[in-house]
């Protein structure tokens, strides 16, 4: 009898903990949504004084170029190697260009660029805002009657949102170039077939536009998570480090989950050939 009581107590405790975790996560999501709403409404400064946003495009976008371009090149080269292996078994090695281009434009470009962007730029945004908070720079701004969300957060948000699709596009372009290097220059697939089949098979609306939409959505998600985690960070060394980790983990999961949802919406229902 006493044991049963004990067990029931234990189960109740566990249930309560789960309930607490769920409610606190829902609360946090609501808080993050309000934060995003406020941020968008107070974006006037970031857009009017576009120089502020340009500076953040430089930090989030231009400084991410090296990792994006190099990764894109290698991903494209690997795709060509692996793709050629499979395609030549069916005598379809001329379709290598199509395979490389579609994989990159539809999936790998936005997803891998998004993951790299989250770990390169997203973590930097979170750490910077978190440290500004920890060193009272955010409070100092408030005491100067300057809204830190408008002045610090909004330019970083828009800088990231603008940078991400451009980076994904460059990633795909670089990947296609890598595929060309390996497929045509190294393996010897016919250059004419490589390019013309690609040109014929890749559709602007179904493939390229959908890829761009994905990268825009990932850009918004990653930058939103990054600025929110930074602004919400516990203002200590440990708090900022936790927030930075959370940015990378949450962003990566968000990208993969959103990618599944968007792919399911875009490429089913028979609107692709």
């Amino acid at each position: 009898m006493q044991q049963l009581e004990h067990l029931r107590e234990h189960a109740r405790g566990r249930l309560e903990r789960i309930g607490n975790v769920v409610t606190s996560q829902v609360w946090r999501l609501g808080f993050a949504s309000r934060f995003l709403f406020y941020l968008v409404v107070h974006s006037g400064t970031a857009l009017r004084r576009f120089r502020l946003t340009l500076k953040e495009i430089y930090f989030a976008g231009v400084l991410s170029l090296i990792i994006i371009l190099v990764s894109g090149l290698f991903v494209g080269m690997v795709l060509a190697l692996q793709g050629y292996e499979t395609l030549q078994r069916f005598g379809a090695s001329e379709s290598l260009g199509v395979l490389v281009a579609l994989s990159l434009v539809r999936e790998l470009g936005p997803v891998v660029a998004g993951l790299l962007f989250a770990s390169r730029a997203g973590s930097a945004i979170t750490a910077e805002i978190g440290l500004m908070k920890a060193t009272e720079q955010i409070s100092a701004m408030e005491m100067m009657a300057v809204d830190p969300i408008a002045r610090v957060v909004a330019p970083r948000f828009w800088g990231g949102v603008i940078s991400m699709p451009l980076l994904a596009a460059l990633f795909s372009a670089m990947g296609i170039f890598g595929g060309y290097l390996v497929g045509v220059q190294l393996i010897g697939v016919d250059a004419g077939a490589f390019w013309s089949q690609m040109q014929a098979a890749v559709d602007v609306r179904n493939d390229i536009l959908n890829g761009v939409i994905k990268s825009v959505v990932f850009g918004i998600a990653v930058t939103w998570i990054s600025v929110f985690e930074g602004y919400d960070a516990v203002p200590t060394a440990e708090g900022v480090s936790r927030a930075t980790t959370r940015t990378v983990v949450t962003s990566s999961l968000a990208i993969l989950a959103l990618d599944f949802a968007l792919t399911a919406l875009m490429f089913t229902g028979g609107n692709n050939q």
Binding site: T135, E136, Q137, E142, M143, M144
Partner: protein
Amino acid sequence: MQQSPTAESIVEIRQVAFGYDPARPVLRDIDLEIPRGSVVGIMGQSGCGKTTLLRIIAAQFLPTAGEARVLGRSTAGLDREGLYEMRRRMGMLFQFGALFTDLSVYENVAFPLREHVALPEDLLHDLVMLKLQAVGLRGAAQLMPTELSGGMARRVALARSIALDPRLILYDEPFTGLDPISFGVIVRLIRELNDSLGATSIIVTHDVQEALGVVDYVYFMADGRVIAQGTPEDIRRSGEPFVRQFVNGAAEGPVPFHYPAPDYAADLELAS
């Protein structure tokens, strides 16, 4: 002089209480009045609520009971516009300066001006140089905050906080971690800037001996209340045991050396 009803009060705190948890208030029954032109110290031990009181004056926190009137307006019921309008007439020096690390010294001082007043670049330059000259760091204008010593950073932050010629300057632990020379410079600047700008200053600090040399009037806090007040002379002569212990820096007194703990012998498992 402090309680004279004729002097215009820049800050009036009436029966203010504050707490995150109603069962454990951080501040209780605070009453204070700060007349224009004075330099007032709020002193006490770490954790006595003095920084919270400063945040109430800065309208970062709202009192849970009572009223805080700052620069003629009650801080409760201010909307964002009203709050920012009030803060434009206020300067605050943070404990470690809180300079923007991505901006140069010049741009740090120019920051509030750029945000609030549209000035031609050459006029802005003159204003920034004027403020930097006032703290003796005109020559450091092009340095980055990481290149400054702690004392210099504090002076730059001071120049930034007076950029808009505030009527009220708040200092949060301005003396922490300064060498004696920087310390003397800050003490002198607090007085000089207050008098030359015609401002009013509030210094929150636990560096009692040092601060007593610069302030006109002192509020002494302990455990969320004001327990003593008066001119520096009154405080030095005070018979209040806590104030005596604090001013003399004695280890034992009303504030015990030991944090409350279980019996020492029991903790070491000596007692049977």
